[in-house]
Amino acid sequence: MAELLWLIPALPFAGALLLVLLGSRLPRALVTTIGVGSVGISAAVTLLLGIEYLSESPAFYHQVVWNWFNVAGFSPSVAFHLDALSMVFIFVITFVGFLIHVYSTEYMAHDPDYARFFACMNLFVGSMLVLVMADNLLLLYLGWEGVGLCSYLLIGFWYKEKANGYAARKAFIITRVGDTAMAIGLFMLFQTFGTLHIQTISTEAVQVWDTDARMAVIIAFLLLGGAVGKSGQLPLQTWLPDAMAGPTPVSALIHAATMVTAGVYLIARMHVIFELAPGAMMAVAVIGAITLLLAGCAALTQYDLKRVLAYSTISQIGYMFLALGVGAWSAGVFHFMIHAFFKALLFLCAGAIILALHHEQDMRRMGGLQKKLPIVFWTFLIGAASLAAVPLVSAGFYSKDQILWLQLAGENGNIWLYLAGLLGAFITSIYTFRMVFLTFYGESKTHVGHQPTMAIKLPLIILAVLSLVGGFIELPHNFGHVVLFSDFLSPILPTISVVPDFNRYEWMLQLLAAVVSLSGIFIAYLIYLKKPDLRASLHRSETAMAVHRFWHSGWGFDKLYDTLLVRPYVFLAKVNKDDVIDSFYTFLTRLAEAFHDLFSDSQTGLVRNYVMGIVVGAIMILTITIFL
């Protein structure tokens, strides 16, 4: 079975290639079969491999497909490495990706560029699979850049709108900032180890460097730069809300299965280096904590349904960074998996709503959809419960509670990080249920046009089930004590040791988290449903509105970067429109042109003049031969 490893990324690539070359000439049904089928078979292969992996439980599967190149002793191969960490990621990518593909067949059914859409989606899934299965960092970087390219292609999918093209370029350029940092980190890794093979680096790093070695810290920070760019964390988060310009299934794919979780994967994969650099670990946690708070506040004030979800993704990835930063590796990856389920679910529900309301995305013009879109309502409610971490029933509660608990109980725990996480959970449940109440309750404001069919309903129901039961594979110590997930990851990611006498407080902290989550929902209920005058009085207050505007603009980061970077750059470009260095070369061409004009005047086309030229020349030569 293990020799089928290469099929998992190869199938989506093959699908993309077929659709790029022939897509516009094939009938729609065939395009659907290729586009959805390639990812579907890939998911089936993943399932088979997963079953075998679980029953055999080897350390890892490894397969060299071919040797990429060999330059001066540096010979990275196109080789795939499958261990527990990769297994979790490819499971989420192929399965959630497959469900999103199925959903897209209806969502994009009337789009003229149907084949182009599926070609890009397949390429996206394929690149992400290469990223998480690569056995060396160069191949990982290839997938990393492939994902960036596909995000550009898909965010700007409806390229006739100018704003979409702008959003696509923004996503590409901002993630490029992080990618450059990461590339420099890879160069330094190669300089130290002479290879980019991940396993070799992981085993040798401990021998080469002491804890806090300067080189290790620098490399960890550079890798963190790459992760921050791709995962939309502070200070490179501004591209993610604008990435909503793409079709909704694309948003679901970017936010749940691919792209933004690449940063989480990179940090988890290179955890050895991060453990050698406690400063960088702390930075990961602090970035996560600040990001989750800032993005949560920004999500509170958005009116665009998809933008709320975008900010909530930034915030939830903040939680993953928080977990990774204190060394709770498996808790971070667990939250990634659960987040993938409920965030894909929420985005797909949002897509169904947007489709039903004729591409209306403003929540102020929604409302009363509870009765009209019952399936979407129930599944959205389940996703929202998971996002808001409603205690006991939702998967999100177990994953988030684990992160919060380890902030205090873990060896690197910190009360401030815990409080930030708790406050973030409170904000999360407010904005989540604000979304639910504004969209599904109250009176109906827009006519419902399109009722979702099976292709939309089925992915929603499957994801909703996963969002409910997904949490039961990892339950807290005092409550069931199921550790299937962390046991599965324990050979790859070191387990976090818990301060021993802390265990008796665990139930208190869980109670606190539950109360925080429920009170957030209650506040949202008060403001947005029960007491409309409370909301009106908020709207009258001058300071509240100023804060609202500030948060609505995402803490003014766009404006800040605009004044600090974009404007000076555009100004410089304008001043230096005729490139200074270029002027030397323009001078050369001007000179050549002048000579050309001069000599072309001598070509009169008159035979007499040519004869004259010959005679004068002959006389000159004669004179020279006679007198010299």
Binding site: Q603, T604, G605, V607, R608, V611
Partner: protein, 102 residues
């Protein structure tokens, strides 16, 4: 047979050559230009004959025969070209054929 001095022969050849050359330069009618070129060729031929008789060698006369043959060929090609020129431009003015002006 009273011999003509070589200088006189060469002077005549030189004068003829210059006349031919100047008229190629100042004439605009293509036929006259062709005639002028013939004059220049004959001047060169005369110089060969004079030199051959001065050194009592047959080479000069052989060269003259060559020049004569070449001139015949040249005239036939030249006349054909003139015919084509006239056919296209309806004139024999060489200045009218200045299509190659840069």
């Amino acid at each position: 047979m009273s011999s003509i001095p070589m200088e006189a022969g060469l002077l005549l050849a030189g004068i003829l050559f210059v006349i031919g050359m100047v008229s190629v330069m100042i004439r605009r009618n293509v036929i006259f230009m062709l005639i002028s070129v013939e004059i220049m060729l004959n001047a060169a031929g005369l110089a060969f004959i004079v030199a051959g008789s001065h050194w009592a060698q047959p080479d000069g006369q052989i060269m003259f025969i060559f020049i004569l043959t070449m001139a015949a060929a040249e005239v036939s090609v030249g006349l054909a070209l003139i015919l084509q020129l006239y056919h296209h431009l309806k004139t024999l003015d060489s200045d009218a054929a200045n299509f190659m002006k840069g």
